[in-house]
């Protein structure tokens, strides 16, 4: 499929990508992010559920395997295009309307902090229709409401096909809640993200 077909001509609008993943998420994310070049176009902000009590090396692990800059999203830092951001464990991550990150220690949601829903809801407020939301494998219901929120703010939503996801609960919960624009295989999501990050959408 071409980018045009993937996104029904909406690719020109996109200014950021948010991705939520839980169980099975590391390999799914590596599959999607590893083809990306050093100079990609728009920022990718990721919430991956991991145990809160572990000092996570997530960003380092991904930084070793990916070409674009990979960092933890820091409180009050402005979102920089072409960067892959991970949420730090133990805090919720939001994007403010001025397009900077804020952390918070509110209660965990679906036993998770960071919450995929919280990131996506705030990103939907900050980016409106210029946002692509992607929800991957997971054994939690986190992300469904956030994705629905992106959709209702006019953004574009892609859910991994539950039939091929390592854990189907998370993508299925989203599909049960609303109708995403696309339900794609991991391979297709990989192609979509690559095209969106590299093609000159002028």
């Amino acid at each position: 499929m071409s980018l045009q077909e993937f996104m029904n001509g909406r690719q020109h609008e996109m200014e950021a990508i948010v991705i939520g993943a839980s169980a099975g998420g590391v390999s799914a994310l590596l599959a999607i992010l590893s083809p990306l070049p050093r100079n990609m176009r728009i920022p990718i902000i990721v919430v991956l559920h991991v145990a809160e009590d572990k000092q996570s090396k997530l960003a380092e692990v991904f930084a070793h395997n990916l070409a674009p800059p990979v960092v933890f999203a820091q409180d009050k830092a402005f979102v920089v295009p072409g960067t892959v951001y991970f949420a730090v464990p133990g805090y919720h991550l939001s994007i403010e309307k001025g397009r900077w990150f804020s952390l918070s220690r509110e209660e965990p949601r679906y036993f998770s902090r960071p919450s995929i829903d919280y990131l996506m809801m705030s990103a939907a407020d900050a980016y409106g229709s210029a946002l692509l939301g992607i929800l991957l494998t997971g054994a939690s219901e986190d992300g469904a409401e956030g994705m629905a929120c992106i959709a209702s703010s006019g953004g574009f939503t892609v859910v991994q096909d539950p039939d091929e996801a390592e854990f189907s609960i998370m993508p299925q919960a989203a599909i049960d809640l609303f109708t995403p624009q696309q339900i794609l295989s991991l391979q297709q999501i990989r192609t979509l993200v690559f095209l969106l990050e590299t093609v000159n959408v002028g």
Partner: protein, 275 residues
């Protein structure tokens, strides 16, 4: 359409913050809005209001109702000796300096229900400093200040606190600091003797004393850049020459102008020193 509803929320939310400020002088206008919005929407459901406008009308006319809303707008801290390595770093890198002062003043800004405050008090006691220290514990929320003043914690939390305490370099048996009473653990009152609790807002109030150490952990993450800047200026003004500032482990002062007036003493655990 949900989109219209969201657009309405975007109008109502700043109006609510303005109403709160004008009516009660609590300034949430410069808080980071994403989490503030979540908390207000959560409060709406808990307080049975159909819209933020309805909530606004009620808080304007019913002070008691505002007190209830306030409990949703502030985030309570979670545990004693959270990030044990921070307290270990304090013992190893800050306490030796503090010992050189004949008397000490320490400000715990945004003390919430007191977990951070009493963790510090225990460190000071074990280092022989508590008797010559005056601790100022401030917060904007009178309800949490009252809880902090009482020093009563749920006993099911004590085991976690004790694990943290040991990892933080605690020298004794943590349970010695508490008296058990049913399902509560009452803090040793000697830890509270030198504490002054006060209603103080980093958004609207000024400096009230010179201090050697300011602890303000996971408070400024809820502020926008301007309010963080204001708070840091207050701390800078309050701190004595080469005084110490302790922040939460994921806090970031790089994006503020005042940040350059502090130098890191322990970078990973966010302990700074006034330049």
């Amino acid at each position: 359409m949900p989109k219209t509803k969201d657009a309405t929320v975007d109008i109502e939310l700043p109006l609510l913050m303005e109403a709160i400020y004008r009516r009660y002088n609590y300034d949430f206008r410069s808080y980071s809005m994403a989490s503030q919005k979540r908390r207000v929407l959560h409060a709406l459901r808990q307080l049975n209001c159909a819209s933020i406008s309805e909530l606004q009308a009620r808080i304007l006319h019913e002070p008691e109702f505002f007190s209830r809303l306030l409990q949703y707008l502030t985030i309570p801290t979670t545990e004693m000796f959270r990030d044990p390595e921070y307290f270990l770093a304090l013992r190893e890198k800050v306490v030796p300096f503090l010992k050189t002062y004949p008397s000490l003043k320490i400000w715990v800004a945004g003390c919430s229900t007191g977990e951070e405050l009493y963790s510090l008090a225990i460190v000071l006691k074990e280092e022989g400093l508590l008797s010559r220290t005056l601790l100022y514990a401030t917060d904007i929320n009178p309800a949490v200040l009252e809880k902090a003043r009482k020093g009563i914690f749920p006993s099911n939390r004590i085991r976690t606190y004790a694990t943290n305490y040991r990892a933080a370099g605690g020298k004794y048996s943590f349970s010695d600091y508490f008296t058990a009473a049913y399902d509560a653990a009452i803090l040793d009152r000697s830890l509270c003797e030198n504490v002054t609790f006060a209603d103080h807002s980093l958004a609207t109030d000024n400096v009230f004393s010179e201090t050697q150490f300011v602890s303000c952990r996971n408070v400024m993450i809820y502020f926008n850049h301007d309010l963080q800047e204001r708070a840091l200026r207050l701390f800078h003004e309050s701190l004595c020459h080469r005084g110490f500032l302790g922040l939460g482990s994921k806090e970031n002062i790089e994006f503020s102008e005042v940040g350059s007036l502090f130098e890191p003493l322990d970078k990973p655990w966010r302990i700074y020193r006034k330049k």
